[in-house]
Amino acid sequence: MVLCALSIFAIVVLIASELVIRSQMAWGKFGLDFFYKSYIDTYSNQPLYWDPVNGHFSALPFLYGTLVSSFLALLLAVPLAIGVAVFLTEMCPQMLRGPLAFITELLAAIPSVIYGLWAVFVLVPLLREYVNPWLIKALGWTGFFADDNPTGLGFISAGVILAIMILPIISSLTREVMTAVPGSQREAVLALGATRWEMIRMGVLRNARIGIVGAVILGLGRALGETMAVTMVIGNSPEIHKSLLANGSTMSSVIANEFAEASGDLHLSALMELGLALFIVTIIVNALAQVLVWAVTRGTPSSAH
């Protein structure tokens, strides 16, 4: 039994060591430059980041794509998720609670590839026909919504599908954290004459805020590593564009796309290094989130009494 339990440590060590060994070549060749340097294409004078043919590799566009799509997802998902959690724990009639919790659980379990399938055939056309023209007209002057990509694929599509995917996770964890706030806190605030919203704000949200931050960070961790759905809608080009409607690429999507047909050892090694970076980042993000959620649900004495 102990051995089986210890196998979990072994898995982490195994993954880390494999990735480190296989990414040695790219690390040796590029070092830290891998994460911020770009090259200038001598013909077109355009910056060039990812060029397997000439052996130039830079992770910059993928870091950018991962960050932009994840933060877009958080921007859309977090307020809604907290709203849902507040409704479910504090306002919802008992009758609705079970079915709604069940739906959230179900949606969290639907595989990424199915969300991707839906996004390709429903979400992307929807954004392309209705939302994007409106964004271009209303906010085109900011430069973030340039009218040069008629496909509908890109950061916005990726951000929206990611938001839909991480919503159930964030909201169910937030709900868990809020339920862990003791009822006496609520009663105390209500006894002082607070309205329901003031009770939620002062009695519940304030006590649960560390855990809610943890839930959001956990959602961020999911969004950073999410692969299939993003690969299917982001457009997959290793470039950096200011426009959110442009095609992009994330760390996980480039691995999914190019790994099986990598053109050489250096290419493979560079992809491995991207994987290693993703592994380290998600480990840190998840560990942080766990600590924060535990701090609340495990009942720290200061907030429990």
């Binding site: 504090e90 199915i114 998840n286």
Partner: protein
């Protein structure tokens, strides 16, 4: 003074109403599209599904018909290998966490690592298994895909097993120990047995989750247009096939992708409902 007070309570009442409205609005905003997605998937899948889907192999582009028989069998094989690895190790790990190591530093560290491992992107698992098995072997194989899925099952199974065991009342353990049963027997014959419906459904949930995993299979199982005869050959898998068909430009393939999605969804709905059913009654009531 009085007016100010009145104004203040009016504002507070308005604020309360506004906040309630926002919470209700966000719930509606979230639940409606999610339910719509779900119904759309069911509708699309149901209208695309036919018998040939289960009995025929994929046909070349341009020919009508065809199915995913090989992918369904492939998924079953991959999941079988994965379960053989993931379930025993996961359950044993869970028993350790809940029974033998409860409260120890080691158990806490393992629990923490399992939760963190759960959040590691599946594609990272995929490339790790690729370099661990596919590179030394020199070719893609069903075996490596199964190992990738098995590794992903371990932390999930481990944690659900632990949670289910913790729901067993201490009185049950004490009763066994009071009869002079050694601890290891009390754990295996009494506690684990009491929690077994929960443990089994927890395994089913882990099974259903990895059944839909695509990313770790792309460069381990790789996919195959026909039957595969050995574990050392590349093998087709349902989610992999859905991915390939979804990004293809052919209508007939899109139809098959929807049908495949329905099959996966039914599997997941079954697993999630079973878990809910089991944890809604008896001693396991309230477990996750």
């Amino acid at each position: 003074m009085r007016d100010e007070h009145k104004l203040r309570s009016k504002y507070r009442a308005w604020e309360n109403g506004f906040a309630t409205g926002m919470a209700v609005l966000s719930t509606v905003l979230v639940v409606t599209p999610l339910v719509a997605i779900f119904i759309y998937l069911l509708y699309k899948g149901a209208s695309s599904l036919n018998l040939a889907f289960f009995t025929h192999n994929p046909v070349p582009v341009g020919e009508a018909g065809g199915g995913m028989a090989n992918a369904i069998l492939g998924s079953a094989i991959l999941l079988g290998v994965g379960s053989l690895i993931g379930i025993p190790i996961g359950i044993a790990g869970g028993i350790f966490l809940a029974e033998f190591g409860r409260g120890t530093k080691l158990a806490n560290a393992i629990r923490f690592t399992a939760d963190v491992l759960n959040g590691v992107p599946s594609i990272v698992m995929g490339i790790a298994v690729y370099s661990l098995i596919v590179v030394p072997q020199g070719h893609f194989s069903a075996f490596s895909g199964g190992v990738a899925l098995g590794i992903m099952m371990i932390p999930t199974v481990c944690r659900t097993t632990e949670e289910m065991l913790l729901m067993v009342p201490n009185a049950v353990r004490e009763a066994a120990l009071a009869l002079g049963v050694p601890n290891w027997r009390s754990v295996l014959a009494i506690t684990v047995r009491t929690a077994s419906p929960g443990i089994i459904t927890g395994c089913m949930l882990a099974f259903a989750r990895v059944a839909g995993e695509t990313a770790p299979l792309i460069f381990t199982a790789f996919g195959n247009v026909g039957w595969s005869e050995k574990l050392s050959e590349p093998i087709a898998a349902l989610p992999l096939q859905i991915y390939v068909y979804a990004i293809s430009p052919y209508d007939e393939w899109h139809r098959l992708a929807w049908a495949g999605a329905l099959v996966l969804i039914v599997l997941i709905v079954l697993a999630v409902s079973l878990v809910r059913y089991v944890t809604s009654r008896g001693v396991l009531k309230g477990a996750s």
